[in-house]
Amino acid sequence: MDVAPQRGASAPATTRSDAICLERVHKNFRRGDSTLQALTDISLTVEQGQFVTLFGPSGCGKSTLLRIVAGLEQQSGGQVSLFGQTPAEASRYKNVSWVPQSPALLPWLTVRANVALSQFINRRADRQLPAERVPQDAQEVLAEMGLAEFADARPAQLSGGMRQRAALARGFVLGAPLMLMDEPFSALDELTRDSLGWHLLDVWERHRKTVLFVTHSAGEAVLLSDKVVVMTPRPGRIQAIIDIDLPRPRPPEIAESAAFLKLVMELKKRLRMGREAGA
């Protein structure tokens, strides 16, 4: 249940057409008589073309924040601007690509048709295609994801990792300037997860979309991101924002480098500090 904003009208939003701007976003859930603060005072700017990860333990509100950006949930207060549009406007123009936790492929469609799903729904948005969205060819993206020869298979014939790759491909085919990924690898085993991380890194470095990625894996966060937002629970808030200044494109050896490991440690330390401060 949504709760009306408690603080008065927030400051006018900084609406930049070249960035994602969150300003004093908060979200309360009401359960019976008590109000749960899921997010308090989240302010964050994501520059165009950046890969930003929301990192934190479960209950820190990272998924809720992502859902607010996607327009799947309404904030209780504060401003969200996606390249100058509200989340509702952005979704009306299909300017946001949502990659959910499970692959959520449609079992009755072939892999190719699943990946091309965005071409069949809300076609009005395609008739007035905004310049910032560049739909991609389904077959090409499938090839980038290493799924070219499975295009005519049904999802049930794929392994879990392949299904998740197909779900990522579906996200890229839409060609939206902003991609939102809600723990897309969390249901996979560690090895599949690693290999998928590299796949995503590779494809992203070619497409260079603005990405907001949610994870609770520190390694994944460092590998993929330009910037990691460390969040802590009760109430959900931003504990720290860490720049990941590793070179791009990132070679496979990077995961064993001292700089990489130092950043992973740094993330874990920040998480612990947040936990101790909250306790």
Partner: protein, 249 residues
């Protein structure tokens, strides 16, 4: 293939065959000692064999009423289910009526329908339709709501219209439920048609059974019962085949 594997593999065939054989033997034993309880199976088969056109003509009357009833009843149920899931306030208005209809004994409304519509096929079609309606409604309502919530969010994130969501997500997701509903509905429609023929008509399998009772003609009674069971089984099988041809994932 080893002998053991062959044995196991053929189990799907011989296990039910053995059950039927045992049932048949038990039947014949009862029939041999108590002719007023069960007629010998060979006599039942003989009666079927000697006048197939009598049984087929009556079967067709029943199957016709059941099929028309099934089509109307399940189409109405499907339309209602689609309406109810899109306008949730209607659910409270509709579902109690459907429940009431479901607990009303079909035999009880049959005479009322004969009074209303006369001695023709209409009362029997209506009873079959009423019988088919409820299982289809319940299955269609659950099926149309059995949507993967994460897939729904993918649709919503692109501002999909209700039409998009219905045609590309809800309807295909619901197909397994719709076919289960159709299997139940066609069975119910057959039962409804037969029971409604117990009165107000001299045609159809139901009437055949009632008349056999009046003349204590056990051969005819059981032949009619077998004919109705087997034909219902065939219709359920046809729905199953359609399901296999439609749902290939």
């Amino acid at each position: 293939m080893t002998a053991a594997a062959l044995w196991r593999g053929s189990g799907r065939l011989w296990a039910p065959a053995l059950t039927f054989l045992l049932l048949g033997v038990a039947w014949q034993l009862v029939a041999a000692h108590q002719k007023s309880i069960l007629p010998p199976l060979d006599e039942v088969a003989g009666d079927l064999w000697s006048r197939p056109q009598f049984y087929l003509a009556n079967l067709w009357v029943t199957v016709y009423a059941a099929l028309i009833g099934f089509l109307f009843g399940s189409a109405l149920a499907l339309l209602l289910a689609i309406t109810v899931i899109h306008f949730s306030f209607l659910r409270a208005a509709v579902v109690p009526v459907a429940l009431l209809l479901n607990v009303t004994p079909i035999v009880a409304i049959s005479p009322a329908l004969i009074v209303a519509f006369g001695f023709n096929a209409i009362p029997h079609v209506i009873v079959a339709a009423v019988a088919a309606f409820f299982p289809m409604l319940i299955n269609a309502m659950s099926g149309l709501q059995a949507v993967d919530p994460q897939a729904l969010e993918v649709f919503q994130s692109m501002a999909a219209s209700r039409r998009d969501i219905f045609i590309r997500l809800r309807l295909p997701s619901s197909l397994p439920y719709l076919f289960s509903g159709a299997k139940l509905a066609i069975t119910a429609a057959m039962v409804g048609a037969i029971v409604s023929e117990f009165m107000g008509t001299s045609h159809g399998i139901g009437a055949t059974i009632v008349m056999a009772t009046a003349y204590l003609n056990l051969k005819q009674m059981w032949a009619a019962i077998f004919v109705s069971a087997i034909s219902t089984l065939i219709m359920v099988g046809l729905v199953g085949l359609t399901e296999k041809a439609t749902i290939r994932w």
